[in-house]
Symmetry: D2
Subunit: 284 residues, 4 copies
């Protein structure tokens, strides 16, 4: 049996780019972590070390900085500009994926900022024909201190968990949502609204399982945002265990909790709009 | 020459405590990371393994949870309650230090919260006689996109740094401020105001060096908050280097920056109110 | 257009399990991080919160510990036992994936150990019919201080990288290799040999690109280990830049380097044995 | 009351330096993380932004790289060269502290290496008169699977911990040892031997408390290494809790453990040679 090269890609990961827009009345800051990944006719470098088809990862980094000179705009648009460039100008490159994380800064004064939690993300893929755009959030940490139950589950000989009709539900949301099209969307508006619906659905849902909350979050986004085709969520269940204080002759009416690190539940799922375009390379 | 036991302490680090206060109109959440450290007559356990004088670290953890049952209040007060307890009730323990980090949650709804950046801290020490209280913040990340210069520095044969009259100044503030007394202070109000002065001084100061900014931050706090005796600051200089785009026939008028990870400058200093009480065990 | 539930799975991540085997002449320690993920008929919990088909993640954790009571053996076998159990005994569960990381401890004495670097991994998937087994390593950090070149690459207007015929090549290997079958393999022997071939190929290959090294590593494993069908590698290019000392009237003949954090190249690829069985759920 | 500048220092943290020594028969690699901190007449930069006395942190970084051109040798000697340079050549600088972490690489072949766990450290301080040298290790993770007891401890109303005569004892050693003098020591030999004594004492000591083990480790080093004056240890108690399997009708004879993350005990102490020179600035 022969041995052959399989799927492969390469790129520059985590190019840290900060852009300052110096308006007279205020500065604006855009703080990004950009990762590029390219695929195409790359057998030669793998098999013989012939790099004639390899656009160096250093060049990819340079391109990120050079393109930022013209302004960034929404990260979805910036990622699409980069992805198109790599495929359209490098003969050997047939697919590009650009992933961007954007960190949040809140204005304190004219040119002063304080960093907030919450990361906005995008992953844009281009194959020479179609651009697919995924937007999202990462490490959005939320908690409900009540309104969460968990009971009626399947029990086997290894089940010891007590059923509960009141627990803390906390998670660090990673969500990625796929756009119907790559054109005609106000990316900033879409992102703000989708994120808001995620948080509202988390807060509003009386939860019988984190799965139910996950579905409610994805569904809420799709119901309100027609430009979106699918939402994928990854929700760690950040367990908060009530502390048994009875040895100290104290009760604990849902007030004192131990916040555990590991292990944690991990609930992953997607919610899809039927009839939406196929994902293509969106989740490649 | 004989070999002997020197300074020592022991305790339980990073007890993760979340308390929920269930008011009819809203829940409140207090999210803490509590570390206790005790010192005293502990030679026996070191030399012979006789643990008669050792209050287990597991007990220290239990005490944190049990005390939380009665409510937490400001972290400075909670830490003082714990420190006093350990020294006053354990014959062998003569000094206790309690360090608490408090994470920030912003209300979204009645019982729903989203986690914010920024950590409030306290370190309270008690030696059977005096309580010393230090409050602070950690990982408060701030940035000025202009208003920072650095020139006129000492040059030797290894100096290549260009002088600049306009750079980005960014740092992750760790600040600790020592209170004049352990009584009579509205801890929450004091903390909010001190933090606000730190941020304002960072934003307002036209900076010729990060040291100047550091001093301005500490001084601002002491000028406005009479209850405070000293401010200690540790400020990493999170370098943002302008990217040289000239190879691409582009200029870069202070717009495109590379945010570097390592190395980083590290500026540490304290600002002190003359005549304030001696720090005692504050920084022990 | 209707909205529907898409792909989903759930489980308990990062159950930290240490097992001690107490032989008279020596103890042995097995230190694992176990993550389970289950999929099946789980629409009800997502749509209505009806958990009748949900085996709690807490039960999955309990099962990991209970199964460890009978001994662990090779992590591939332990993962397969767990995966089969979840699917075969839970009516609603049709697919299970068990991922295990094993940390390395070197014996110092009869019952004393020191932790080494290097993580052994496995991912085993079972769908009620077939078991697929992937073994691997993670965070295996290697460096060649010479024998690496990079030149002849594609240049565009954003290319500034100098060509080099001598550079440091360093990476943190993540490799996953798929087994031809789930039976009849001495997992420990196979893992030791595959890892050794990876390291040897890294060291032996005079490299014209990290892609060439990647391919050589995968190919070497497949040439020597007939039980393996495919090797997937993810290799960050941990850049070491020679420091320009000319401003200090010093040369730098490949001796003094700056080890950069970010950005970094990221080279990903697979090497496949033609005619091997289809991967099925191996990379699910 | 007046407000004044208190203690302060500044420097460049975490300069990542790799040096390759290219011998015909083999290469050698030295992988360091160097942090410098300077103090002296620095009031002007804090109070007015006059930087005439400030040697830029960028220059400190350059100096680290330039000095590496001449070879590094033992990290204690390299740190001392740097500390002396900063104080002896910069009029305003009166104290320098250089902290170095050295990462461990094991040879695989002539110019190929694999990274091991374990970090060697040094902190060298110079004030224009005396050099003090501290050597150490960090993140040396060790475990005894038996030979550890904990009982006879002080009990109060919050004590629930069961006494045990057999537990796992695991820790990540941070140790720093102070040398009697800054001259005449074979640093590499001294470090290897001291580390070996630490590990042997951990393994050999039948432990009634982690404090007893800590003291035994420090004492062992001082008894065997006359060049050392003091050992400081910080030992997190990495708890391994036996899992209660009784609900599954299984016993657990000390075989199956949960490795907890937080909270953890933290035991800190020093062992001192009576009559040794005063520490001076060693722990500054």
């Amino acid at each position: 049996m022969e041995i052959r090269l399989g799927d492969n890609q390469y790129g520059k990961a985590e190019t840290r780019l900060v852009r300052v827009d110096r308006h007279p009345d205020r500065h604006e800051v855009t703080d990004l972590n950009v990762s590029t990944a390219l695929a195409g006719d790359l057998a030669a470098t793998h098999l013989t070390g012939d790099n004639a088809g390899v656009l160096p990862t250093d060049t990819q980094k340079n391109t990120v900085y050079a393109f930022a000179r013209d302004g960034i705009g929404a990260i979805e648009a910036f990622a699409a500009r980069l992805a198109r460039h790599f495929v359209d100008t490098t003969p050997t490159i047939h697919r590009a994926r650009v992933r961007i994380e954007q960190y949040s800064w809140e204005r304190v004064a004219h040119h002063s900022f304080i960093r907030n939690s919450g990361t906005r993300t995008t992953t844009v893929t281009y194959d020479g024909a179609a651009v697919t755009v995924v937007s999202g959030v990462d490490d959005l940490v939320v908690m409900n201190t009540t309104g969460s139950e968990f009971h009626g589950f399947h029990k086997d000989r290894y089940t010891t968990l007590a059923e509960t009709d009141d627990r803390i539900l906390a998670t660090a949301v990673r969500a990625d949502w796929r756009h119907m099209t790559a054109e005609g969307t106000d990316w900033n508006d879409s992102h703000r609204e989708a994120t808001s619906h995620l948080v509202d659905a988390f807060a509003d849902t009386h939860s019988l399982s984190l799965q139910q909350t996950l579905h409610a979050m994805g569904e809420r986004v799709l119901r309100h945002r027609e430009e979106l085709a699918e939402v994928r969520l990854s929700l760690p269940n950040k367990h908060h265990f009530p502390v048994d204080l009875s040895a100290f002759e104290l009760d604990n009416p849902g007030e004192v909790f131990f916040a555990a690190d590991r292990p944690y539940g991990l609930i992953e799922g997607s919610v899809v709009r039927d009839g939406a375009p196929e994902p293509g390379l969106a989740w490649w």
